[in-house]
Symmetry: D2
Subunit: 405 residues, 4 copies
């Protein structure tokens, strides 16, 4: 590590963990573009870091990479550039015009670092070759920008659920299948995850797609000493539910049912209009809730409402039993620009996984569960409890990182 | 302490802190009657202890008085008995008919322990005499029922805010004023609180009334080695706000405004229809919120809607700034029988203050802040943080109590 | 007609259209039981006719059968009596205990008039025989109680949508199929409707089931000079939508999307948990809305939430374009006991179809569209416009009825 | 009338009622600026007339002035130009940037027609002189632009309620007081209304201020043969209430309580933060509701929430009694840009009052009650009934106007 290169750390803040690459899979999507534009705005001082967990205490006192030390690149399979995507988001009223103007060059620069992703419908050759090509992109990116490390974050379109095959659980079988040009044993998200392992990158999955959950891949990541975190960003309705549910439990109350519905447009709305793709999402949205409340009456819907654009509106109806069999209801209506919730978390994850990598943390990081609907390595779903775990972990890990050579 | 008298403790639960009196000021009101009826139902096994914080872990493993070890008495200035009050609450659909039948005798027995409270409009003589008469009721109650201790809980009608006088801050001046039959220097709630001190009782204020907040009284309570806790039960909307607000802060978001409105009927609705009485309540409802969010745009209303009866409906509109100046809104609608929220907390407070008293805790107990809108001795308002403090405190205090002779 | 038998008409109210039978198909269900209990309570003066359209002007001045002139009977396939059903509804908090006590005898009397319905899973023999047996029940009921006429109202469980067969459109084919003991060409609801035609009864369909919509049946009803009305009671969310949607149109605004969700338990909740049965309901719920707004972005869900019992909670999110492309949102949350909404409408339909029958109206009555999600013979869906049509029609028809011999 | 000058009427649309001045009192406020900008956008074809009642049938077939035939001028007491106001509204996200660009010149032209209004704090001299000066502005405007008629619409800041004086009811006393330079017997809104009478202009009051309600002024307007309409624009929450309340009544249901709260920022929010000014508004908001429902449990609040800008969020909780004493609740949450609701109604009123003037209608026009919370000359509050009255009146009046020389 050479802390000397950090650009924005003030004299009295701790040394940063160094220049870090943030490699976005799905780089031209709504979340990735908002994260990239936001990072540029933050690094240049055009906007405060509101919405970033790591901007406040205790994280602001720890040796995380400064926003100015993050360099963006990524994979995508779509031709629309980040600049075009940002223009569309600005026209829809999500991104303020003055921030778009101020970051246009930075977006263009990031987009210049975007390489063609793995597209199963286009690819010829074995998946091993595909993964190696993606890994080569990562390695080149790290070298070109003289980065201490690269964190890969999957923010690509949600895939349908994966049915586990024997190959997914047996290294030898998987290696053979990957080498076979006539097979496509892994979904795209897992080819991506494999590439991160090959290139020695920390990795986070912000989607419900299979990605690193293929058992053999998870094992290879751990063997390679890489920290990984997932899965499916907990940004809105699910976050709210995991704030509320433990609070009812602490009151000794019994949740009878928790019904919800989601309305959204945008790219994610269109993807999830496909019931098969939506299944992954609905499952991961309900897992924590059932765990926290003990009820399985949790009907949930996602509707594609194109006229809402990137705004997600979520309604929840919670029916609770209290003292002497009495009933109470709580309804919540949440309305937010979905990508504006996700983007700062992407930056948080980049900073925290950089820390984990610097400290030599390897395998799933349960304490990053705060960011995910379906936390790897953890059964803790309550947001308040997760926030405490996260802060403790970050302090401890920063300590370890600070003492490594 | 003679634990032998505990009636419901199973062999493997810890020894109870003994037979405890629960003395309710405002004993014939909605909250008090519901608590008394509920206690009888719980003790007799007619209902589970849903809604009681102390029924779940870690509290269920600690030496708190068993529900069956609590004996109820109280003061009130109204002639309607608890049985009549319970019948009215059952007719309004709040209390199930079968529970009323099952507890009718217990209610009548408790009502037989209700003594005339201090009514400023009726009283002749000095306030010192009034307080001593109330204290004599407490002492007689303790003796008659052979109680280890008595916990006084104020659940009387909310009073208007108190303007502090020099007498309230100077023991000598207060003593003189109390002795003067032509003066009424204390509001009724504070005469009550003073009586608790005179009788050596633990004390909790579930209302926003002045009660024990008169500085000289607070000092006398501490000097008498009595644990006290307050103030204004945090049962519904305010509880919800203190669950949500810290969660936004943890996300690095900025609450811009938090507007709310409350609709309720019942006795409390009628009392708070008086804008002067409502002022105490509105102030204590907003204090924590402002502290937690940093905004002072927190308009709040309480409306008397008689047709709602004891149901409280509360709507909140939260306007939040997130990443890059984006805005999100959260609306919540809460609908609950207010007394059903409050009653189990009264039982919790009786059990926990009995523990505190047994352990020799004296003065305000900040860790009981979980139960209050305006926690004495504490700046912590977030419900999750308070829950952790409460559990830690209860464990530690049970330890101390267990080692006292 | 012999108006002399009317029992409750005051001297100055117009002569009633006579003693009328109300034959409920699904007589032991929640809606039917509530209607029967309510009718008894109204006739005996135990409750005002709140919630009945026909209790207010202009209907209260017209010659409709008095509540006391309605006699209830019906078909059902379930063994649980109306008294048991009413007890269950009372235990669930929907029906007040004192009304149950006051009407217990009347309910038992009505239940004594309930005959076994047509159950496709049990029936042996041809559907013609089945329909004739049901018709014989109707005829016997009319004769026994000396009724001027009988109105059949279908409030049985919702059936899955029907795929039209050639038999449904061709009288000869249908007759042949009905006679064939090995075929079951009609769904239960249509066998019922056919029975009403055979027995010369007015008929209303409060469900989305096929019933009288089989084209040949509708023709036979018209040929028999019978008034029929349908379909699918417009009681809650859909009613609200048809109140609101025309109001937006009158403002020159454009509805972009109207998303909704329904939570309910009870018998209807369980039935509609079956996605196939729910399909009929969802279709008829959305038809009017699309017609009124012009948008087809109307995602809608029905969820079975058993802990809600007979309470239906419906949330709608309306996204509207106004001046200069501006957007507004309206959210509505509706919470009501579903059967309490439906029951008075059943009584209204009985009274109004009795009037239609007395006036010789034949075939679908478009002006009764006010009561239905999917109004037969009408394209008018807006509730305000329907209310005007209904009042005009009732006045005119009462006039005609008054002049018939 | 010289219809030849109309610019946008297509060959087959009826002849317009001619070139019409729209004189906005409060011309630089949010509503007035939005109306002016919108008019320019509509006239130039940059936006459709969504949100305008008169753009749809039956009004689109009647001889109303075309949008292109309306010319804007006005009075204001503030120096900020319409262009600046529009820029602020665009920055706040209410007005789309491209429409601001497209209408900037038209806004500047309209602002050039804005004359100093009557400001009681600045004025020296008698109110008679003040009114004559304002009237002279109106006359000059009509002459300069060669207008057939001018419609004055008051959209100035809401004033506190007026206490009626003897002068307000007696012409001679009023004349004397107006002539007295040491008295200010009329509020600003009424000086304005008087000026409209002096200049022979049709007049509408979109605010709850006293304006033309001073009895002597109303009489003078009628004597001068001028049509007047008011009062207080019914644009959002109140409109919604008058849509819903009659619908409950038609169902035979009984509204028990209707509680509401309003959150808004912007200029109107700041004005109404003053409880005295808010009183006028709260009164006119509740009048119709009480009339329609018969309940007087209608608590209502208006809160200034600056961070909401021009967005108005309104929550209503409706508690209704239905069949057999059952209860239902309806909650509505409305969120809209307040000025976007009001602006098209201003254009509608200009067109319809031009028609009234052309047809020789004089005095209060009850059928314009559709647009107002407190309809002059009418007891009809239900929105659906008002819409029917309005359409009938417009047809009849267009007929009359068409036959006048
Ligand atoms: N609040 C949130 O926004 C939120 C929360 C949780 C999870 N997520 C998840 O984040 C993901 C991104 O959401 P979004 O709104 O940006 O979606 P989006 O549709 O705007 O963007 C997805 C991007 O992924 C790209 N892509 C698709 N397949 C790819 C592949 N094989 N390789 C590389 N790129 C590929 C697409 O071309 C597109 O640019 C989704 O999976 C979503 O479920 C978002
Ligand atoms: N969720 C809740 O119910 C909740 C939450 C927080 C605080 N509180 C507070 O709890 C208190 C009780 O609420 P409630 O709904 O039972 O009200 P209530 O009106 O039903 O009962 C109040 C009782 O106090 C009695 N009282 C009045 N003055 C007295 C005096 N001087 N001495 C003795 N008794 C007196 C009255 O006669 C009445 O019986 C209120 O102050 C309320 O603000 C309730
Ligand atoms: N607000 C409302 O309640 C509402 C509104 C619109 C429509 N509906 C419709 O009204 C119907 C009744 O609703 P419910 O809540 O009373 O349901 P329910 O399940 O309580 O009652 C249905 C009854 O129909 C009986 N039944 C089933 N098949 C039958 C057959 N072949 N012949 C005779 N009886 C039969 C059942 O045994 C049961 O007693 C449903 O179709 C529902 O969709 C109700
Ligand atoms: N949906 C709505 O926006 C709505 C609905 C009903 C009524 N209204 C009423 O419309 C009015 C305007 O609302 P707004 O949001 O545009 O308010 P605003 O504060 O933006 O504008 C009011 C304008 O009136 C001007 N003004 C004040 N006193 C004046 C005087 N004596 N003569 C001339 N001009 C004067 C002010 O300078 C300001 O430019 C308010 O009274 C409001 O209550 C608005
Ligand atoms: Na997990
Ligand atoms: Na139809």
């Amino acid at each position: 590590m050479h802390h000397a290169t950090t650009t924005t750390a003030a004299p009295d803040t701790p040394a940063s963990t160094g220049r870090t690459g943030l490699w976005l899979v799905g780089a031209r999507g709504s979340v990735a573009t908002t994260a990239t534009l936001g990072l540029a705005a933050l690094a240049a001082g055009h906007a405060p870091a509101t919405g970033c967990v790591t901007a406040a205490e205790p994280f602001d006192g720890l040796a995380l990479p400064a926003f100015g030390d993050l360099v963006v690149g990524g994979h995508d399979v779509a031709p629309t550039t980040m600049v075009k995507q940002a223009e569309a988001l600005a026209a829809a009223g999500m991104i303020p015009g003055h921030l778009l103007s101020a970051t246009r060059d930075a977006l263009a620069a990031a987009d210049a670092e975007v390489r063609p992703g793995y597209d199963p419908r286009q690819h010829h050759g074995s998946q091993q070759e595909a993964a190696e090509a993606l890994a080569a992109d990562l390695t080149a990116f790290r070298r070109t920008h003289d980065l201490d490390r690269v964190v890969v974050v999957d923010v690509a379109s949600t895939e349908p659920p994966l049915d586990l095959l024997p190959e997914h659980e047996d290294p030898a079988l998987l290696r053979a299948a990957l080498a076979d040009p006539d097979r496509a044993v892994l979904p795209a998200s897992s080819v991506t995850a494999y590439a991160a392992v090959l290139a020695g990158c920390a990795y986070a999955s912000f989607t419900p797609s299979a990605g690193m959950t293929v058992p053999v891949l998870a094992r290879w990541a751990a063997e390679a000493g890489l920290p990984v975190a997932g899965q499916d960003g907990k940004t809105g309705q699910t976050w709210l539910r995991t704030v509320l549910a433990p609070a009812f439990t602490a009151r000794g109350m019994r949740v009878l049912s928790w019904a919800g519905t989601n309305l959204l447009g945008g790219g994610d709305g269109a993807t999830l209009a496909d019931p098969v793709a939506a299944r992954s999402k609905l499952t991961s949205k309900n897992r924590g809730l059932r765990d926290l409340t003990g009820t399985d009456v949790t009907p949930l819907h996602i509707d594609n409402v194109p006229d809402l654009g990137d705004v997600k509106v979520a309604w929840d109806h919670v029916h609770v039993e209290g003292f002497l069999g009495s009933r109470l209801t709580l309804q919540t209506t949440w309305s937010a620009h979905d990508s504006m919730l996700a983007a700062p978390m992407i930056l948080d994850l980049a900073r925290l996984l950089a820390l984990a990598h610097a400290a030599g943390v390897s395998g799933p990081v349960p304490e990053l569960g705060y960011f995910f609907k379906d936390p790897w390595g953890s059964d803790v779903h309550g947001a308040a409890a997760q926030a405490i775990q996260l802060a403790d972990w970050a302090r401890r890990t920063a300590d370890v990182a600070g003492h490594r050579p």
